[in-house]
């Protein structure tokens, strides 16, 4: 096994970029404020000095062109990584991502491929209100031709980003903003986490908790507290939202019969709904109770702290949902 060091998520992502830039001269990265300063969160730090202004450069504030330029660079054989400064601004780049990146391979009968990564910070909790806090991953999971990744730990951040860069497909890579600063052990050098593989973080027999990104952390906390209360949670960190690791989650649900799905996005028509539907199709006969969604509220994210807390997924909400699910037999809808 490789050696470990303690890194933050931001540092781990940065290390992944440095390694991949060293390995593959076709890589380039661009986005707003990413060169001289290394980006708002330091994820691209040091790349400019090491790999020069052709491969590492800041762009005008032009999200459509950023996404589209990534598509074009990918088509001719480069390996572009585009940073979207805050993932809410993906709203400006949907056409290039959805009508171009995701479809060009298919529309051209497999002639073209679009190996690109679009990455950036996502999520709420820091008082940036409705236009800087959304978790819109469900939109991308909906679109055939894309892969969607959301790491929760520094090690996964590194391993998944490296895999995403090498993937021959367009990958949308969501980095939970409030996790950038958390620390964890990260293997030095080559460390790849395959896309499409979930991780069973904790085995348990009472309830399966499906989570990703921030909610995987909350899930860990919740599971620990619930263990003290005698409730044994199996926690699965999905890591890749698309393609989904159906085998792993179905195996778990067959064992526990009860499921909580956690997702930070708006509840209605969100990613959690896909998990519910997949399990209804793949494991209905094993379900002892309705699957419960613990998701973002169906409201924009408010600014005031006390309001923001109301609409977000929290450890407490997860604990409450698990307890209700284990205790009760009536459908439990947690908001």
């Amino acid at each position: 096994m490789s050696q470990m060091r303690s890194l933050t998520v931001a540092e781990a992502l940065n290390e992944a970029l440095h390694e991949e830039f060293e390995r593959d001269p076709r890589t380039l990265v661009f986005g707003e404020d990413i060169a001289d300063t290394g980006g708002l969160f330091g994820v691209t730090r040091g790349l400019l000095d090491r790999f020069g202004p052709r491969r590492v450069f800041g762009t005008p504030i032009s999200e459509q062109a950023i996404a589209g330029a990534a598509v074009g660079a990918a088509l001719v054989g480069a390996r572009p990584i585009a940073e979207i400064q805050i993932m809410d601004f993906l709203t400006l780049a949907m056409d290039q991502i959805v009508n171009h990146a995701a479809k060009l391979r298919y529309m051209t009968g497999g002639q073209l491929r679009v190996p690109l990564v679009i990455r950036g910070p996502v999520g709420a909790g820091v008082g940036l209100a409705a236009q800087h806090s959304q978790s819109l991953e469900a939109w991308f999971v909906h679109i055939p031709g894309l892969k969607v990744v959301m790491p929760s730990t520094p090690a996964d951040a590194k391993g998944l980003l490296k895999s995403a860069i090498r993937d021959p497909n367009p990958v949308i890579f969501f980095e939970k903003r409030v996790l950038y600063a958390i620390r964890g052990d990260v293997p030095t050098g080559e460390h790849l986490v395959p896309l499409g593989k979930a991780e069973v973080c904790r085995t348990g027999r009472d309830v399966t908790l499906l989570a990703s990104g921030l909610s995987a952390h909350y899930g860990r906390d919740a599971a620990q507290k619930l263990a003290e209360q005698g409730i044994d949670v199996e926690l699965i960190d999905l890591r890749t939202l698309k393609p989904l690791d159906v085998d792993t989650i179905v195996a778990s649900v067959r064992k526990t019969g009860r499921v909580i799905v956690a997702n930070d996005g708006y509840r209605t028509c969100g990613f959690a709904a896909e998990l519910v539907s997949t399990l209804v199709e793949e494991a209905f006969d094993y379900l002892d109770a309705p699957i419960v969604r613990v998701a973002g509220a169906d409201a924009p994210i408010p600014y005031a702290q006390n309001l923001e807390a109301e609409v977000l997924v929290t450890t407490d909400k997860l604990i409450r949902a698990v307890r209700e699910l284990v205790g009760a037999s009536a459908p439990a809808a947690v908001r």
């Binding site: 005008p60 032009s62 209100a129 408010p302 109301e310």
Partner: protein, 368 residues
């Protein structure tokens, strides 16, 4: 149509402000500056969450521009919107309350710094999306036209926003529809850590007017009178049916990008250079030279604004948090359809009484 430098020379003109108005401009600039200093303090102490983009150094732009408008005219703003709002007449108290997330804020604490708005002031909102307000300004002008009003719309955006595609669509649409939109670029030389010179392919944003058959002018953004005059003329053009104008005000922010992104990447000399032409000092000097105000008068104005901001802080800090139930209100307006309603421009355009309190306050403005 295009001039690379000042267009509206300080000619004797009907739009020139009166002595009282000039003192008012001075007061407004102080109000903005003092307000922003408070915001920074409150951010540092943890009372303001998230971030806040300070307008310090750019006061002449919002102040001169909004003073050239009628109160019924509209403003669309940006992430750096406090100055625009105060200049458009919003009260510091409920603004600060908004920025610290209190129930008495203009938006009940749900918007915060990046979303301050006031329907009754025609302030259609700060905007967290760079460039996002530009088509909204065009639409507001369209809407006003449909409603038979001669309002103009003042659309603020930055040098960074000058590269957003939606701005160009907005310029083009406003031009072909000859809409009374004043596109006002606040070129403060930087977009976050990016210097305009590396991302803007031309030296002057004003140049870009020509691509849309819109007259474009560079304005000294530190000179509140120059801004006032330029916007006055643009508003006149708009009201006369001559269409949009593009004004580029060269200005500078004294603080780093935001209370959150504080890394300073700008050269100390550059900052010093701009501070030497401080807009408040500039106007103060002019007022003294013209005999419109003495040093003591100016100090009194400043003191009065200091008091106003102290009161605002007091008001905001003593305001209650929003009720947590507010997290789930205002998502949708009540849609009880009253089929047998409106004919003609009549009063009940906003008949859903419960929702139109703040709107109906503003006679003749939003909500008609």
């Amino acid at each position: 149509m295009m001039s690379d430098s000042l267009l509206f020379a300080h000619s004797a003109d009907s739009v020139a402000p009166s002595a009282e108005q000039l003192r008012g401009l001075y007061a407004t600039m102080w109000r903005i500056r003092l307000f922003e200093q408070q915001v920074l303090e409150l951010f540092s102490s943890g009372t303001v969450r998230g971030t806040a983009h300070l307008y310090v150094g750019e006061e002449a732009v919002a102040t001169g521009a909004c003073a050239a408008l009628r109160s019924t005219d509209y403003v669309t703003s940006t992430h750096r919107g406090h100055g625009h709002a105060l200049a458009k007449g919003l009260e510091p108290g409920p603004m600060l309350a908004e920025i610290i997330g209190r129930a008495t804020g203009y938006c009940k604490g749900k918007g915060g710094s990046m979303h301050v708005a006031s329907a009754k002031h025609g302030m259609l909102g700060a905007d967290g999306i760079v460039g996002g307000g530009t088509p909204i300004a065009v639409g507001a002008a369209l809407g006003a036209q449909i409603l038979g009003r001669d309002d103009v719309v003042l659309c603020f955006f930055g040098d960074g926003a000058s590269n957003q595609g939606v701005l160009f669509e907005s310029l083009n649409l406003a031009s072909v529809r000859r809409l009374p939109v004043i596109f006002l670029c606040e070129n403060n030389l930087w977009a976050l850590t990016t210097p305009a010179r590396t991302s803007l392919s031309v030296p002057d944003v004003a140049t870009r007017g020509q691509a849309f058959n819109i007259p474009g002018f560079v304005v000294d953004g530190q000179d509140v009178l120059a801004v006032h005059e330029a916007v006055s003329h643009a508003a006149e053009r708009g009201r006369a049916g001559e269409g949009p104008t593009l004004l580029e005000c060269k200005t500078y922010r004294y603080h780093s990008h935001s209370a959150f992104a504080t890394r300073e990447v700008r050269a100390a000399e550059e900052i010093a250079h701009w501070k030497a032409r401080d807009p408040i000092s500039l106007l103060g000097g002019q007022l003294r030279r013209l005999g419109i105000a003495t040093e003591a008068d100016l100090a009194a104005i400043q003191a009065q604004e200091e008091q106003r901001i102290r009161d605002a802080v007091e008001f905001a800090l003593h305001s209650p948090l929003p009720d947590v139930a507010e997290a789930f209100t205002d998502v949708l307006a009540d849609a009880t359809v009253s089929p047998s309603s409106i004919r003609g421009e009549g009063g009940e355009a906003w008949s859903h009484a419960a929702q139109s309190e703040s709107l109906s306050e503003r006679a003749g403005g939003i909500g008609r």
